[in-house]
């Protein structure tokens, strides 16, 4: 049979952001794949060098629309470490609350998108309906639905009043019930199971060799979570578990994410109930001393790392952002080979790709057939920033 090249993207209904796959198919089966990224390069890293620490945070927050708090927190965490500023416990708790609420809304969004990719629009509508409750909580606590702008160097900008804490706690039982419903739905719904089970399988060894992070790695049984392995904020003080799964496929990733929603809910509730008193910000100097730091953080999609170099002024000399999607892309390319065309949206969506955050690399796989058990594709070849 002749081979057909099916172009997917840069504009395609399955993709929420621009990316281009040139899928070479033999009938419905994918035999080769070419990934073209970096359609939405925005020059954020360079722009971050032009602004002082107060003005740079709203910019860093806009690296990603979904994990905005992640980027702002990982950045301010790094700067605070360079400055040697210890932020007060109340601020740490508030940052954790926002971070976990963000994880909940991100995973709910992902669940809806994954359901939509396999045509299960009912679950899509339901998860996004329930995600509203989380977004409402965030708006109530921070004033905005997505770009919370809660962080500042040395603490947080807004304190939580007792009435806010109460209102947030009041929303938790409903969410808890809904999350239970999702667990049941994902484990029982047959048509969805047939689309998720055994699709995009990634063994533990493969996940490790491709450097997968976040739920993608944890679904393959890699017990790696920055919150546990390199604790920051208050994650070493509060009770919570790393959710892992051994399935390694899209179904496993779904289970991990739903488990994490439940864990996050527990963390949020614990933090709200045990919110310590005291100030919400520590006095931070205007300028940071010269230094270099690699700040790590577990964003909803996986580990996000900021490399920051300061030079004694109120601006960074260099900030380099490694988003989790970048770490997961290579595993996607590997998973897709040998699968039917219909699995492309599911497998791509399964890593929860955030393409605009990632737009700083072009990955070109060298040609030839790549069977399922062939060695991993050559690493990134062309780097563009």
């Amino acid at each position: 049979m002749t081979r057909i090249v099916v172009p997917i993207g840069p504009q395609h209904p399955a993709l929420k952001e621009p990316v281009n796959f040139r899928v070479v198919t033999d009938g419905e089966r994918i035999v080769d794949l070419e990934l073209n990224l970096s359609y939405s390069h925005r020059g954020i890293e360079k722009a971050a060098e032009q602004r002082d620490f107060i003005r740079v945070l709203p910019l860093i927050e806009r690296v990603c629309g979904i994990c905005s708090h992640s980027h702002a927190t990982v950045f301010s965490k790094g700067i605070e470490e360079i400055m040697g500023v210890e932020i007060p416990p109340r601020a740490q708790y508030i940052r954790t609350i926002i971070a976990e609420l963000e994880r909940m809304h991100s995973h709910m969004l992902w669940l809806g998108v994954a359901a939509h990719e396999v045509g299960f629009n009912t679950l899509f509508m339901w998860t996004w309906r329930d995600r509203e409750a989380v977004l409402d909580t965030l708006e109530e606590l921070s004033g905005n639905r997505v770009h919370y702008n809660m962080n500042e160097i040395g603490g947080v900008r807004l304190d939580l009043s007792p009435s806010q804490v109460e209102a947030a706690l009041a929303r938790m039982p409903v969410l808890e019930e809904r999350i239970r419903a999702y667990v049941g739905m994902v484990e029982d719904e047959e048509t969805m199971l047939t689309r998720f089970r055994g699709v995009g399988s990634l063994s533990r060894e493969e996940a490790l060799s491709f450097g997968a992070v976040g739920p993608t790695a944890r679904a393959s049984g890699v017990d790696y979570d920055v919150r546990k392995d390199d604790p920051y904020l208050v994650y070493d003080e509060i009770p919570w578990n790393v959710v892992t799964d051994t399935n390694g496929d899209v179904y496993g990733r779904t289970k991990v994410r739903i488990g994490e929603i439940a864990e996050s809910l527990g963390i949020v509730r614990h933090c709200l109930e045990n919110l310590p008193g005291g100030p919400i910000r520590a006095e931070a100097p205007k300028a940071a001393p010269p230094g270099e730091i690699l700040s790590r953080y577990e964003a909803p999609r996986g580990e996000v790392a900021h490399f920051i170099r300061t030079n004694g002024t109120a601006r960074v000399e260099r900030v380099d952002i490694r988003t989790p999607t970048l770490a997961n892309w290579t595993s996607v390319a590997h998973c897709l080979i040998g699968r039917p065309l219909a699995d492309v949206p599911v497998i791509v969506a399964a890593i929860d790709p955030c393409l605009s955050c990632t737009s700083r690399i072009t990955l070109v796989k060298s040609g030839g057939d790549l069977g399922k058990d062939a060695p991993p594709p050559n690493g990134p070849r062309g780097w563009s920033r």
Binding site: V6, E28, V118, T122, R129
Partner: protein
């Protein structure tokens, strides 16, 4: 109904094309509204399907480069015409005046034409998504058509006639066939869902995979007509199953006046088709799209086997004289 004027009125006005058009719009509204409510959404207002149709009819028709225009224009018309013709043989206010022995086969055949038109459109579009969608549509046709046909042949076996109106009349004297042949009824419902290309069988137009499949390059009136053909086949399919399995307009008690009797029959027809639509909507809302290779398994392993098992059961029932 030998009067030619009455016959023309039957074909064109009620319960012919005009009624079919209005009812298919209502049907689409109900479908969209019910699914919206299932998903906790508001859903469209009543006139939305009609407004959509008028709007798409008025849009510019765009020809893909190198397309065979006459066939590309004709395919949607053929699809719509086939579905509308098939509606004339389905009883709505009493047995169809055009009924003849074997009209069930004709209706089934005419209902297959839209899928073939869709395949043709996909193939002619000169677009990779449309071509893949067209191939998928015709592959799917081979999978669901066998159990669907088998399921609809079952009533003919039991009632001993190939005419839809006669099968309906047979059920007046006996039990309704959905009770006598539950497996065939379920297989027919699933087959209808596949025929209408609704989730979980919307493989040819899988939005997130191949954009819109064969519909990708359809614009303006071509899109409108093709869409209308799809909507009308939903009505015809539901009416067919209502007539063949649910006893159609038949009701056990007798009503004196002929007009009143026809009205009650018509209301029963409406109620039964809407009930079938409700089932189809629930299936649509409760499932994810399956893959083509998975549909292959479902179709041949389960649906066809179930239909064949029903054949055996019906033969045994007829031999032992149960339900007849």
């Amino acid at each position: 109904m030998t009067d030619p004027f009455l016959l023309i009125a039957y074909i064109l006005l009620f319960p012919g094309f005009l009624f079919l058009f209005a009812y298919s719009m209502t049907f689409e509204f109900l479908d969209r509204r019910i699914v919206a409510r299932m998903q906790n959404r508001v859903g469209p207002p009543f006139f939305q399907p009609f407004a959509d149709l008028v709007k798409t009819l008025g849009k510019e028709v765009i020809d893909p480069r190198g397309v065979d225009r006459p066939i590309f224009d004709a395919a949607p018309v053929v699809a719509l015409a086939a579905v509308m013709t098939s509606f004339l043989y389905v009883p709505i206010i009493g047995p169809s005046p055009l009924a003849f022995q074997g009209d069930l086969v004709l209706v089934l055949y005419l209902l297959t034409l839209p899928t073939l038109a869709l395949m043709l459109l996909g193939w002619l579009s000169r677009n990779i998504y449309a071509a893949v969608g067209g191939i998928r549509a015709v592959t799917m046709l081979f999978i669901y058509e066998v159990p669907f046909f088998l399921a609809l042949m079952m009533p003919t076996l039991m009632a001993g006639t190939w005419s839809i109106s006669d099968i309906m009349a047979w059920q007046e004297e006996h039990l309704c066939l959905a009770i006598l042949q539950p497996i065939a009824f379920i297989v027919a419902l699933i087959g209808l869902q596949a025929k209408l290309e609704r989730t979980p069988f919307d493989i040819p137009e899988a939005e997130t995979e191949i954009v819109a499949g064969p519909w990708t390059e359809l614009t303006g009136r071509r899109l409108a007509l093709m869409h209308l053909a799809n909507e009308t086949s939903a009505v015809v399919g539901s009416a067919l199953i209502a007539a063949v399995f649910l006893g159609g307009l038949a009701f056990p008690w007798t009503v004196e006046s002929a007009i009143l009797s026809a009205t009650v029959g018509f209301l029963l027809f409406l109620a039964k088709t809407v009930a079938i639509l409700l089932v189809l909507s629930i299936i649509r809302a409760a499932t994810a799209r399956v893959r083509l290779d998975q549909l292959n398994t479902i179709g041949w392993k389960y649906l066809t086997m179930a239909a064949l098992a029903q054949v055996g059961i019906v033969l045994v029932m007829m031999a032992s004289g149960v339900g007849i």
